[in-house]
């Protein structure tokens, strides 16, 4: 059985509670939105289909192909799922896949699962579908090219975010891990992109009715396009900046108050924030994280409401 854990599945213990909590909250909001969208707009028929599609992604990850030098590319599937099934269904399918990999095979942790779902499910859906949606009414060649580009960027963004999460947790040094992660995933992403394009081309050739473009366009509106393009641009801009000049990113982060000057407790990402009567304990850190998380939730909810309005227009 060829079952190699992909370097993107972060195990428990590698992220601090605060970082885990922040990404859990983002993930819960997004998955919650996906669930309510699915319950409202799709029939109950969609649920068994999504389950079988999740099993498909899981099984397809076993189809790997040899690249040079003993390494092999294998398929992550997030972009393909989001393009074929729509972004919300794509998020649910990838959540199920990441969840079962963690629950059943310990491929990725439980406490950090929020971060893993965010990296491999939400980012890929936003980037993969967002970019594809932009060109959905264009010619087949353009669509396939953008789908491939989206798959590559989504893989790179997942690697970038995994590196950032590990770095914010004080688990890794950014200047060592980021170039390594991005380097490896530039290759993995290439495999992902090529397989996504080839699979899409095959499906379009044999069952074009499954890729009903008008339906697919109705699934998500400008909100997806904007977030897809913005996040892709951010990922593309941050990656070279950060790997070429990690001190720069560290400086930006400390200017923004993310890294304390002392950094004595590596898990404190809001170092100046401590609750007086609790002192400098884990509880204080958790509360500090919760405050940050609430701000984030607000942003995400706003974004979600915006998306909803876009859709009902």
């Amino acid at each position: 059985m060829n079952f190699s854990p992909a370097p993107l599945h972060i195990p428990d213990g590698f992220l601090t509670i605060v970082v885990s909590a922040i990404f859990w909250l983002i993930t819960i909001v997004m998955v919650g939105l996906a669930v309510s969208k699915t319950n409202r707009s799709l029939g109950e028929k969609q649920i068994p289909i999504m389950g079988v599609m999740a099993a498909f992604i899981f099984a397809a990850q076993m189809l790997n192909f040899p690249i040079a030098g003993g390494t092999s590319g294998h398929f992550l599937g997030g972009t393909l799922a989001a393009i074929v099934l729509g972004p919300w269904a794509g998020i649910l399918v990838m959540t199920a896949v990441v969840g079962i990999q963690a629950l059943l095979f310990q491929d990725g942790g439980l406490l950090v699962m929020g971060a893993n779902i965010f990296n491999m499910g939400i980012l890929t859906a936003v980037i993969g579908y967002g970019l594809y949606r932009l060109v959905i009414h264009q010619k087949k060649g353009i669509r396939l090219a953008v789908a491939g580009g989206g798959a590559w960027i989504a893989t790179m963004a997942a690697a970038l975010f995994a590196s950032l999460e590990l770095w914010l947790s004080g688990t890794t040094r950014l200047e060592i891990v980021l170039p390594a992660m991005l380097g490896v995933h530039a290759l993995i992403g290439l495999g992902e992109a090529l397989i996504t394009v080839a699979a899409l081309a095959y499906i379009e050739q044999t069952r074009p009715d499954l890729l009903n473009l008008d339906n697919s366009a109705r699934e998500g509106g400008w909100g997806w396009i904007v977030s897809g393009v913005v996040i892709s641009l951010l990922a593309v801009l941050i990656s070279p900046l950060a790997s070429g000049n990690p001190d720069g990113l560290e400086k930006i982060a400390s200017d923004l108050g993310f890294l304390g000057s002392g950094l004595d407790a590596p898990f404190q990402i809001l170092p100046d924030y401590s609750i007086p009567f609790l002192g400098d304990t884990a509880i204080s850190t958790i509360l500090a994280g919760a405050v940050g998380a609430i701000v984030l939730i607000g942003l995400v909810v706003l974004l979600g409401r915006n998306l909803h309005r876009q859709k009902s227009d």
Binding site: P11, V31, A59, Q106, L110, L111
Partner: protein, 264 residues
């Protein structure tokens, strides 16, 4: 392929197997949370947590070393944490000049690295114990009781059910490729990389279509057998006195571990 390749459930009659799945899920999450909360270098607390894990292993009737054997799955990822050794805080222990980069391992960095390793190793083991002592449908049922949306648990239930079926489908597709890929002994088969990618892509596309069409048939047959939108299980979940007792004792131990970790 046989079904139990993926199923991690090991049955032996034991108290742990009999516990309510909700208790087991809670215990697992709390244990992992407790590990994450412990400060770096609190070795006595980590040792106590390991002791607790050994007791749980023993109680499960699967043997003291059961989870240890499978815990190697988390090893490859430790590579990522290696760079923590070169943390700038703490006093330097050595200077390694590799030409393009100079690495300075520090004492605090080493403590951080090993703490991450121990946390991850302990957490993986309790998760292994959870799936080894709980049947997957019960686990999902417990998650549903713990307020996971039913849409999601149903998707995961279908994923679990059709994992085996679609894996067999993958093997059929791979066998078909083998059968059509005759080669001379000693001569490397296959075309260029682009050809291989096209083949793999078509295989993925083919698998997708077969899965999609199968899911359609599955749905039709489920409707005709009275499917009402979610999967039901026959195992009732009742919290007995023993379940509460185990939960309480476990939490008590975790509190003691936290105390030891933060005080010493």
């Amino acid at each position: 392929m046989h079904v139990d390749v993926f199923d991690q459930y090991h049955f032996t009659p034991s108290r742990v197997h009999d516990l309510d799945p909700r208790v087991k899920v809670l215990i697992t999450v709390l244990f992992i949370l407790s590990n994450a909360l412990l400060p770096d270098g609190s070795w006595s607390a980590f040792a106590l947590a390991w002791l607790l894990l050994l007791v749980a292993n023993d109680q499960s009737g699967l043997g003291l070393g059961f989870t240890l054997k499978r815990s190697v799955v988390a090893l490859p990822f430790t590579l990522v944490a290696v760079s923590a050794i070169f943390s700038p805080q703490g006093s330097p222990l050595a200077v390694w000049d590799l030409g393009f980069i100079t690495l300075i391992p520090t004492d605090l960095g080493l403590i951080r690295f090993f703490s991450i390793l121990v946390r991850s190793w302990l957490s993986v083991q309790i998760a292994i114990l959870l799936v080894a002592t709980t049947q997957f449908p019960d686990l999902l049922h417990a998650l549903e009781h713990l307020r996971l949306p039913r849409t999601l648990t149903t998707i995961i239930a279908f994923l679990f059910r059709y994992l085996f079926v679609l894996t067999n489908e993958v093997f059929r597709i791979l066998r078909a490729r083998e059968a059509r890929s005759a080669g001379l002994p000693g001569v490397k088969g296959g075309g260029k990389l682009s050809w291989r990618i096209k083949t793999t892509g078509s295989m993925v596309g083919q698998l997708f279509l077969r899965s999609y069409e199968r899911s359609d048939r599955i749905y039709q047959s489920m409707i005709s057998r009275g499917y009402i939108g979610h999967i039901r299980t026959l195992n009732p979940h009742h919290m007995e006195r023993q379940d509460w007792l185990y939960l309480f004792v476990f939490i008590l131990f975790l509190v003691i571990i936290q105390f030891v970790g933060w005080v010493s």
